[in-house]
Amino acid sequence: MGEVASLRAAIAALVHDGDTVALEGFTHLIPVAAGQEIIRQRRRNLTLVRMTPDIVYDQMIGAGCARKLVFSWAGNPGVGSLPRFRDAVQNAWPVPLEIEEHSHAGMANRYVAGASGLPFAVLRGYAGTDLAGLTDTVKPITCPFTGETLTAVPALNPDVGIVHAQRADRAGNVQFWGITGVHKEVVLAAKRSLVTVEKIVDRLRERPGAVVLPHWTVTMVAEVPGGAHPSYAHGHSDRDNDFYVTWDSISRSRTAFQRWLDEAVFATTGGVAP
């Protein structure tokens, strides 16, 4: 556990065709470089899980890696829509995309159940919405003490959980800070996990708001400076807001997207986004 490897070796070892893969990072510490390495290794028929599919999943979906998407908000934050995601949903291009849609509260609790070794989680959610009727992953549950009806959602335990973090030490202990999202939950819920980090150091030092995941909870660690671009790593980089806008123009046209794929992903040896 906590094995340090190259990004290429880690993806090759951990991600297989047909796997359920969750790349997480709530606007912060998104493992974009790892997503692009999955594209580069031409993985197919993945079930992609993510609360906020944004540019990284637009890229993976457009590249034809995914057969299904489990999510709660699919957009380009602050800019608009995800053209590749829309093209897949509305026109099955390049391949059909099955979707399973939830709310943030539902997705977050599904990861919590997964991390807790429970088959389901309970929340006050979905009541009265049209979401519940579209999936068998939202069901009513009755409180055995009060008789009140609440909502149950099943645990998420992805085959692979991938996040980006600021630091790891050489033993593979991982540390991240700032907005931590569902980082801890997805790593603990996943059967296998990969953490890409800005920097591998000899010793982690305590920091306000920092979360540490011991090496024995992380399968592999890869040093990928800038691996969250165009999202950011608190204390290392700023969010590249211009790229989010640029992405819209790239993603709107299939040909522009294909050109971007060839130039930015397949022609490169991997690591950092353009």
């Binding site: 829509s81 709310s103 609790n109 919405t129 700032g178 999202g181 569902v182 608190h234 807001n241």
Partner: protein, 264 residues
Amino acid sequence: MTVDGSGQAAATWTDEEMMIVAAARALRDGTRCFVGIGRPSVAANLARGTHAPNLVLVYESGTIGAKPTRLPLSIGDGILAETADAVVSVPELFNYWLQPGRIDVGFLGAAQIDRYGNINTTVIGADYRNPTVRLPGAGGAPEIAASCREVFVIARHDPRTFVDRVDFVTSVGYGRGPGDREALNLRGRGPVQVITNLGVLEPDPTTCELTLTQVHEGVDVDQVCAATGWPLRVATAPTTSTAPTPTELTALRTLRATIGSGAP
């Protein structure tokens, strides 16, 4: 339009600015506000910069009591974590902070909103599996709309947005009318104000139907009715919102100037 009838230099503003200012005014100082990105965040930060310095901003990224010195560009902007009273995980935010009803106001946008304040941010078109337009989806909205003590909605006023019945209920307002929220065991009161570029709609106390209670300066009622996709009920005497003050406009434009491209 002129700010006032006095002799001083006339200032003009857009209906977009009027909408943001009206939304900001609706936020009382000291309240805890669950803020979505885009217009709700602009309005909430404007309020905090003007009449509501103690407004508590809560973002779904887990930042509680954020005090950004510039407009955040995403709900996860680093400046929110740097200035927050507390940063918690996303599961904790939804379970410990939103779900129990600790947040006073939920501030939402909408792609479609209907007569009963139900919101659609999922799909346009009758067939979910084959939509005319695929929208981003629910995000935090369903539980924000369910659990906050009150909900404010901000949206530009046109018949495609203000529809008789939403194509998809992403977030529940008053369902199909009185009693529905109670039947669904939803904790909050539901949408109490819908603020647009033309005026303000509020639910009728007995029927829960959204009713025009306020028009912005220079807007007439017929204009609002024409921009609404159902026969809009109008309060007996709708008030008129006062124009943005120079202070409000300066604060809003300064705030907007803090963001570059890639802005919400």
